[in-house]
């Protein structure tokens, strides 16, 4: 009944751009979990774009005003969201951080050193993909890195992971450029980079949308299958390319499970469990063999 | 104050072999001309003779290609309007340059808004504006927005603007084209007062009678050349016309009473323009030239715009050839064979940045196109025909209208409606800024159209013109028709007394809510 409905605890889920398939599947996972669980009301909010820090903070403020019981937040900026998180905690709301870890230094300064983070290690994921590429190419392989939005935290971490793998695997990074997570831009970028660096052997793209554009660029240049590509996110559209061998590997972060995990963690805390720090969620390297 | 020191030379301005070229046009050809200090000097000449170009050189809008200009004996070549204003030269341009969304007062004093502590001193602004408006006889609130004014009011406003600051030389480029006798008389009064203060006035007009009334010396230009400068008392209209046109003109107004008046072609019943208190009824017949006279703001423009569907109407019925038609926008009117030549050519009549031919053919593109494709040659030849008929002075039919002289632009507006071949022609101030010779051509054209069975309604502020060419004149006064005079009953006194009729109990309605918005 309506009364019972009212008494149900409310969970605010603050996400990044739902336009991004990854977050969309995450939201769907959370909704599915909420429907199955049935003990709480889920209010998911996404931004129009990933750089929209301002709107995300507004959403946080609105949740605080509404006095929701639990906020799960995937910050668009690891530093910028610390202040509203602190405000929410002060207002007595349980907050769990997921997907992108809030900045340690900023958290420490805000006195939130132990804030719970449920999420994958983006750097680790990128490292796995880069490593796979390094293994395939062997020492001395020449690669591009196609970055995400400059300034975005997961873009930075993925780049760091790729670089680490390249260093350890002895790969030579010819150039590292951004394509702002965009298919068309990645396509144009790589097409042009192929002109100036025809000797490239591998390309690491910070997400699968860009990997799609990269593959098309290679197709057009007649190099698909010859130049190895790795991506990130394991979106459905990339899977066929992985199977066809046009993409060497991608990374699955299990988005649907992640948000549900985060909510579960929050309720555990509300029941009195003392949790703190990073509760890592899995990242998995996906290659053709995984998709057979 | 203007310095009248002894050392000053007698000629305030001197053109010495001044030449100005535009592509394909020699606008001024080695003009030598001296303007005496403190005189009222008139410039006359056909459309495109170079009058406006000559004065624009003084105002820093153009720079002469050859020759020199002396101002008080010193070389003068202003590079900007600011420089000209600093040098004490003011002009009322042939085309308006107003700020429609600003108030009347701000427009008048725009050059130098009164300030106090960095802020606009509105109290003083409105007070001073009130005085300026009274001077030119414009009875509107200084707080009204300019966009609500009619063309004649704007003209007076332009004059008030030019008077707002002291100047040595005041140039008036066709200031009376839309004014009626009372305003014109008032303007002449102002000119006389300025003259008494030692201001030199350069005056341009196509109304020849005026020139004798106001001017002391008259300079005639033809095809960019100075023909002659003569004292007004030595001149006569026939002589002036001969100098301007190069040949004698016969009668000034052609009238052929023998051509018959036919059936009713247009009837208007109780037509009330939106937001106005009065409704108007009248009828127009085939073969008839019907005039509409009235004072400035008497509501003629309002009426014809409402009739044409350019503005909304409160109520009223319109009959074409006896059957009622619904006209809600100009397109309906044009489809029913009615056309309107608007009084404001710059804002409503022309597409300045396009060619003559594009402007002319826009009223009936079907005639120069086939299956939606423009027929280049048809368009050019049709335009060329009209250009020849109306004697439009342009290097080619491809010339941009913006580059034509004011009078020639007006002719393009006339041409565009002739091109449409409408049955009912409503012309609002059709001869505004058109020279005598060309006027004659246009009158004859109107006559030919009337003879061919069309109905023609002419709104004009030029009484002699209406009396010269019309079968019948409707007199408007404060939005009502107060006179319907047959040709036999035409007299200046009768028309004027009818025109004043509705104003006798107090002054014309004048407040910020007035106006038709056809700014």
């Amino acid at each position: 009944s309506a009364r019972a409905e009212e008494k149900k605890p409310v969970v605010g889920l603050v996400m990044k751009s739902l336009a991004n398939e990854f977050f969309k599947s995450m939201e769907e996972g959370a909704r599915k979990f909420a429907a199955e669980d049935g003990t709480f009301t889920l209010v998911p909010v996404g931004m129009n774009s990933e750089t929209d820090i301002d709107t995300q903070i507004s959403a946080m403020e609105n949740f605080i005003t509404q006095k929701v019981d639990l906020i799960c937040v995937a910050p668009a900026d690891s530093v910028g969201l610390v202040a509203p998180v602190k405000k929410a905690i002060k207002a007595g709301i349980t907050v769990v951080n997921f997907d992108v870890k809030l900045d340690d230094k900023a958290l420490a300064k805000a006195g939130l050193k132990d804030l719970v983070f449920v999420g994958p290690d983006n750097r680790e994921g990128a490292y796995l993909a880069g490593n796979e590429l390094a293994k395939k190419l062997g020492k001395g392989g020449k690669v591009f890195i196609i970055e995400g939005n400059p300034g975005a935290d997961n873009a930075k971490m993925r780049k760091a992971g790729f670089e680490k793998a390249a260093k350890e695997g002895g790969l030579k990074v010819l150039v590292s450029r951004t394509a702002h997570w965009e298919t068309e831009e990645a396509n144009t970028l790589v097409t042009n980079l192929l002109t100036s660096h025809p000797d490239v052997q591998g390309i690491m793209a910070a997400n699968d949308s860009m990997a799609l554009g990269v593959v098309k660029a290679l197709d057009a240049a007649g190099k698909s299958g010859k130049v190895q590509v790795v991506g990130f996110d394991n979106i459905p559209a990339i899977q066929k390319l992985v199977k066809d061998g046009k993409v060497l590997a991608t990374i699955d972060q299990f988005g649907p499970e992640m948000a549900a995990n985060c909510i579960k963690t929050g309720f555990r805390m509300k029941k009195g469990e003392h949790l703190k720090g990073w509760l890592k969620t899995p990242v998995k390297l996906i290659t053709a063999t995984d998709l057979m | 104050m203007v310095d009248l020191g002894n050392a000053a030379p007698p000629d305030i301005i001197e053109f010495q072999g001044t030449t100005k070229r535009f592509p394909g046009v020699l606008a001024l050809d080695r003009v030598d001309l001296a303007i005496h200090r403190g005189e009222v000097h008139v410039l006359a000449g056909q459309n495109g003779a170079g009058k406006s170009t000559l004065v624009k050189l003084l105002c820093g809008l153009y720079i002469a290609d050859e020759g020199a200009i002396l101002l008080e004996g010193k070389p003068y070549a202003p590079r900007s309007t600011v420089a000209a204003i600093r040098a004490g030269i003011r002009i009322v341009y042939q085309e308006f340059n107003l700020l429609p969304y600003l108030t009347v007062a701000e427009n008048i004093f725009f050059e130098r808004l009164p300030r106090r502590a960095g802020l606009v001193d509105f109290a003083r602004l409105f007070r001073d504006a009130e005085a300026m408006l009274a001077q030119v006889g414009l009875e509107i609130s200084p707080r009204a927005r300019v966009e609500t004014l009619g063309v004649a009011q704007m003209q007076l406003l332009e004059i008030a603007k030019a008077l707002s600051t002291q100047s040595k030389v005041l140039i008036l480029d066709e200031p009376t084209a839309t004014l009626t006798p009372p305003e014109i008389q008032r303007l002449f009064g102002i000119i006389a007062r300025l003259k008494a203060r030692g201001v030199t006035v350069l005056y341009i007009s196509h109304r020849l009678q005026e020139l004798f009334e106001v001017g002391e010396r008259i300079t005639v230009l033809r095809n960019g050349r100075k023909v002659e400068t003569l004292a007004a008392r030595d001149a006569s209209i026939p002589r002036l016309v001969r100098l301007m046109v190069g040949k004698e003109l016969g009668e000034e107004y052609p009238f052929h009473p023998e051509s018959g008046i036919g059936a009713e072609i247009l009837r208007v019943e109780e037509l009330q323009p939106r937001g106005k208190p009065h409704a108007v009824s009248f009828a127009l017949h085939r073969g008839e030239l019907l005039g509409a006279a009235g004072l400035v703001g008497s509501g003629r423009t309002e009426l014809v715009r409402a009739l044409f569907g350019a503005d909304a109407k409160e109520s009223g019925r319109i009959y074409r050839d006896g059957s009622e038609v619904s006209i809600r926008r100009p397109r309906d009117a044009v489809r029913h064979g009615i056309c309107l030549l608007t009084e404001d050519r710059k804002a409503q009549g022309l597409i300045l940045a396009m060619s003559c031919s594009a402007n002319v053919t826009i009223t009936d593109l079907r005639r120069v196109s086939h299956a939606g494709l423009l027929q280049d040659s048809a368009e050019r030849s049709a335009t060329r025909e009209l250009v020849d008929d109306l004697d439009i002075k342009t290097p080619s039919v491809d010339q941009l209208v913006a580059n034509l002289s004011g009078g020639n632009q007006q002719k393009v507006v006339v041409a565009k409606w002739l091109f449409r071949r409408s049955e009912v022609l409503i012309f609002d101030e059709p001869t505004r800024g058109i020279d005598v010779g060309a006027r004659f051509e246009i009158y004859q054209l109107l006559w030919r159209l009337a003879a061919a069975g069309k109905g023609i309604l002419i709104v004009s502020s030029d009484l002699p013109e209406l009396m010269g060419i019309c079968h019948r004149i409707l007199v408007f006064s404060n939005g009502k028709i107060t006179g319907d005079l047959p040709r036999s009953g035409f007299s200046q006194e009768r028309i004027l007394s009818a025109a004043y009729q509705e104003y006798v109990h107090g002054r014309p309605q004048a407040d910020s809510t007035a106006g038709t918005g056809h700014a």
């Binding site: 820090i53 403020e61 300034g151 | 340059n97 050059e111 802020l119 509105f122 927005r145 926008r329």
Partner: protein
């Protein structure tokens, strides 16, 4: 201000105000917590930045120009301000002061570029500010090395969080900016020039004024406002980032246009701009509280922006009680108000 004048003012602004009021009523009915004090505080906080930017944008749009660079310049100004304020060699007081100056100056300098290039070469501001959009963004990323800057002095951050009787201090700053803008437009020679140039630049030139000067100043004012907005941003969010502000230009322009300012210049008002920014803020907040899905929210936002402007149009028509839309330039028969300056809606 006399009662009659206030009444007129209300009526005159009613159009878009009406849309706002309707919206507030609807949300209050539908979303339980919408009308709470705390939520009003949130909304006021959330509209502050857009309001300040929109004030600057109003100047530029009144001239018939446009400034697409505000979002990027905002980012650049926060970076400059952020780098100064986190400089450890400065005492907090000095750091704050210099940072505020630095942000404002950055904004002004970008405005100088925009204005001067537009006027020197007579290029439409669309293209110049599009250039600036890229330049400023690139510069912000370059000098910050694409890192977010944080850890500002507490004294500074506290201002962003402070409220007075529930009204956020940063909103008061924004309100002060609006009122100052209104005063400038209505009462100063500069303000009248802005309107005049937007009306008919040619006529202004023929009157012996140099429109370029005023236009450049308007761009500088706009840049300066963006600088102020940058400071408010830093106070509110306690970060400076090279990637913030993407798309802010559209929000600001929307606020200005919803507020009744004409895109072709010459007509408009600051109060309208404030109302426009409020509509955008209320819409955002209300739809979120309704718990509407993100995609539906985006669609509804788009629709309501259009509907709000349509309501404004209907009001104008009803108020004039005539079908002047048929007339070329609908004469607005607004009673003249002395205290708002003689011109168009201010």
């Amino acid at each position: 201000m006399r009662v009659k004048q206030i009444l007129y003012l209300l009526l005159r602004e009613a159009g878009i105000g009406l849309a706002l009021i309707l919206m507030v009523i609807a949300f209050s009915a539908a979303a339980p917590r919408f009308a709470s004090m705390a939520n009003v505080t949130n909304i006021l906080t959330q509209i502050s930045i857009n309001t300040v930017i929109s004030v600057g944008m109003t100047f530029v749009i009144l001239l018939g120009g446009i400034d697409l660079s505000v979002g990027s310049v905002l980012a650049l100004a926060t970076i400059v301000g952020g780098m100064i304020i986190t400089n450890e060699n400065l005492s907090p007081g000095t750091a704050i002061l210099l940072s505020v100056l630095g942000s404002a100056l950055t904004g002004c300098l970008c405005g100088v570029f925009n204005g001067v290039v537009c006027e020197r070469w007579k290029i439409h501001s669309f293209i110049v500010t599009l250039g600036m959009l890229n330049i400023a963004r690139g510069a912000a990323l370059q000098i910050s090395n694409s890192r977010t800057i944080s850890e500002f002095p507490d004294a500074f951050n506290d201002v962003g969080a402070a409220t007075i009787f529930g009204v956020p201090v940063i909103f008061l700053i924004a309100l002060a900016v609006v009122l100052a803008g209104r005063f400038i437009l209505a009462r100063t020679v500069f303000g009248r020039m802005i309107y005049a140039i937007g009306n008919n630049e040619e006529a202004v030139r023929l009157s012996g004024h140099d429109p370029s000067v005023y236009k450049v100043v308007a761009f500088i004012v706009c840049g300066g406002m963006v600088g102020v907005a940058a400071i408010i941003y830093m106070m509110r969010l306690n970060i400076a980032s090279p990637i913030l502000g993407v798309g802010f230009e559209l929000n600001a322009i929307a606020a200005v246009v919803i507020g009744g300012t004409s895109m072709s210049g010459g007509k408009g008002s600051m109060i309208g701009t404030l109302l426009g920014a409020s509509i955008m803020g209320v819409l955002n907040n209300g739809l979120l509280l309704l718990g509407m899905g993100d995609f539906a929210r985006q669609m509804v936002t788009g629709l309501i922006i259009v509907v709000a402007v349509i309501i404004d149009k209907y009001r104008a028509q009803a108020f004039l009680r005539s079908s002047y839309e048929l007339a070329p330039a609908p004469p607005r028969e607004e009673p003249h108000l002395r205290d708002t300056g003689p011109g168009p809606r201010v």
